[in-house]
């Protein structure tokens, strides 16, 4: 029983991070049809900027955070406007390859600019201790991070569902032509969704980085969130959050019962099985091809 709780509470903070990552991925996938494999590099960028702000200046945390989010958002838009927007009309995998290569570009550029091997992000006011829940000791900061992650994700989903802008975004993703006929500025919404995706990535990066160190391995975390997105159904915002939490908890169980070294391989095997047996995920829309 203790092991079960340990697995669940170990997996939830990870799951919350995956949920945030998957939300950003789903947002740009639904609006612009691009699967952004450079998302992990945007995470890393936000975390790097905040970490070096904390290292070099005595300024307030919030300002550094805002700068980090802004940089990631701007870079995301630059990627979209300069490159990904122009892959429209080319075979679908061109954008896939483009994001992979852009990820490499960002990785190399960041390792040149942020020359230290690793950085530390510390969120002020985060408690260091552990609390006992049903007899299992759980780190307070990790619980808070899980809470923040889930809360952010829920606010984001609510905004997409109930605000005017959110409905416009979903409409633009579903049928761009019809949406533009209805007076929606589809192109600016596309640009806007890339900004928001970059910000979501940076938020996930900061949250994830505050539990470990910030180094180049973080860009791989977004790839491990892909199973979460596929489980959620690729184009469902709610699915992204549910999928993220499920995959996080599954990883918690693998860590506790099988061993930490198997986590990544098992998660990717899970993705392969998922693609075979449940390709549309839990909440995905059915793909219909008309000839």
């Amino acid at each position: 029983m203790d092991n079960v709780l340990l697995a669940v509470f170990g997996g939830l903070p990870l799951g919350a991070t995956y949920a945030l990552i998957a939300l950003g991925l789903v947002l740009v996938y639904r609006t612009t049809g691009t699967f952004n494999l450079a998302h992990g590099q945007l995470m890393l960028l936000g975390a790097f900027v905040l970490a070096s702000w904390q290292q070099h200046s005595r300024g307030p945390f919030v300002l550094g955070l805002l700068i980090g989010l802004a940089v990631a958002g701007i870079v995301a838009v630059v990627l979209y406007v300069l490159v990904l927007k122009r892959t429209v009309g080319q075979p679908h995998w061109v954008a896939f390859v483009a994001t992979l290569v852009l990820g490499q570009l960002l990785d190399a550029a960041m390792s040149l600019y942020f020359s230290a091997p690793s950085y530390v992000v510390s969120i002020p006011g985060m408690p260091k201790g552990a609390v006992a829940i049903f007899g299992v000791r759980v780190g307070q900061s990790e619980l808070i991070i899980a809470g923040i992650g889930v809360l952010l994700a829920l606010v984001f989903i609510a905004a997409l569902r109930y605000t005017r802008l959110g409905i416009q975004v979903r409409a633009a993703g579903q049928d761009p032509v019809l949406a533009s006929q209805g007076g929606i500025q589809v192109r600016s919404l596309y640009v806007g969704s890339w900004v928001v995706a970059g910000i979501l990535a940076a938020l996930a990066g900061v949250l994830y980085g505050s539990t470990t160190v910030v180094d180049s391995s973080m860009s791989g975390v977004a790839l491990i969130a892909i199973p979460a997105m596929v489980l959620g159904g690729l184009d469902s915002f709610e699915g992204a959050v549910v999928g993220g939490l499920i995959v996080g908890v599954i990883q918690g169980f693998i860590t506790v019962y099988i061993g930490g070294q198997y986590v990544n391989a098992a998660t990717y095997s899970f993705l392969l099985v998922l693609l075979l047996v449940l390709p549309r995920g839990l909440f995905g829309t059915k793909e219909v091809v008309k000839i």
């Binding site: 490159v83 892959t87 080319q90 390859v97 490499q104 040149l112 199973p227 990717y268 075979l276």
Partner: protein
């Protein structure tokens, strides 16, 4: 008296010499003969004039050609993306190691490695039977990590494989002075066979079916094209070739370690065929040449601009930036790659020449 009509239609018409010659040229070109001749000539030049180390670099180019041709067939001709190239290389290399350790001869090890990679490729391609596009890309990323994990586990659990990985026996003996030249000729032969095989698959009935799947998959099904079988064929063939490259690379270097097989390597394969030109034997070979040369060129360039210290420290990073920018420029400005640019330039030159010829003829 006029001839009856049907006798005209059935009368055997002997093809003219010009027609026959043109036909032979067309068939040879379709099978990639010009590229094969080019590679043979370059191999002759490199092996007879260059030092052993340079021949080794040339061999890495020949090895890259195998995988790049495989990916050109998969992506360019069939329109299926794979980010799992490094995984299939690893599968080939480490299966060859496994066969080698059980005492098999070199040829069995190399082909066995390729076969194992092909089987793995077919397994990974299973999701692609039901899905279009993205799923295969995501699946191959997953496959990459799973294969590399298994291979790494094998390396760690084998006591006599150190952190540097497995050593492989020297195929051409240890005492020979020009072992790399012997490899160059062997690899030249392998690349020739691969070019013939890939060209054969990409032309005629199979080629038309593969391109229809690429361009209009939903319609291919209505035209009695067995979409699933052809996709599996393309994926199996390309995994086989990647496995072959992996196994041969391990033998040429004499050593193989799981750390060589990164996702970055797989992305380089994608970049290679994109820059060279998709669905083109010449483009695939060109891409392999560029990406073999790029690290060396960049090392020199960085050392000239920023100093030798920077070159040894960050040369690889600058190389990545340059190749990434190169790919981005090609994606945005010239999606057909270098081969496409050359083809277009040749076409334009021909038009200009024809126009000039017509003008001189009419002027007379």
């Amino acid at each position: 008296m006029t001839q009856p009509l049907d006798s005209v239609a059935t009368a055997p018409v002997a093809p003219s010499h010009e027609w026959r010659a043109a036909r032979v040229v067309t068939v040879l070109t379709r099978l990639g003969a010009p590229v094969i001749v080019l590679i043979a000539l370059v191999t002759l030049y490199v092996t007879s004039t260059q030092a052993d180390h340079n021949v080794f670099v040339y061999n890495t180019f020949l090895l890259m050609c195998i995988g790049s041709l495989a990916l050109s067939l998969l992506m360019g001709t069939t329109g299926q993306v794979s980010a799992g190239s490094a995984g299939f290389l690893a599968a080939g290399a480490f299966s060859a190691v496994w066969f080698d350790r059980s005492g098999m001869p070199f040829v069995v090890c190399a082909l066995g490695g390729a076969l194992v990679a092909a089987v793995l490729g077919l397994i990974v391609a299973l999701p692609a039977i039901r899905l279009r596009g993205l799923a295969l890309g995501l699946g191959t990323i997953a496959a990459h990590y799973v294969i590399v994990f298994v291979v790494d586990k094998y390396q760690q659990d084998t006591p006599d494989a150190g952190p540097a990985g497995f050593s492989l026996p020297a195929v051409f003996g240890l005492t020979g002075t020009n072992t790399q030249s012997k490899w160059a000729w062997l690899l030249c032969g392998v690349v020739t066979v691969v070019i013939l095989a890939v060209s054969r698959l990409a032309s005629g009935r199979t080629g038309r079916a593969l391109r229809l799947i690429r361009d209009q998959e939903a319609i291919a099904g209505t035209q009695a094209v067995p979409v699933t079988a052809y996709k599996m064929l393309a994926f199996g063939a390309s995994s086989f070739l990647l496995g072959l490259q992996g196994a041969l690379t391990a033998y040429v270097a004499g050593q193989v370690s799981s750390e060589q097989f990164t996702l970055i390597l797989a992305i380089q394969f994608l970049a290679m065929v994109l820059v060279g030109g998709l669905d083109s034997v010449f483009g695939a070979v060109l891409g392999a040449a560029i990406f073999t040369a790029l690290p060396f060129v960049m090392q020199d360039a960085v050392s000239a601009v920023l100093g030798a210290n920077q070159a040894s420290l960050n040369g690889a990073r600058y190389a990545v930036i340059v190749y990434a920018l190169l790919v981005v420029v090609f994606i945005v400005a010239a999606p057909a790659g270098l081969a496409g640019l050359i083809r277009r330039a040749a076409g334009r030159a021909r038009t200009v020449a024809e126009r000039r010829l017509r003008r001189t003829v009419s002027g007379q």
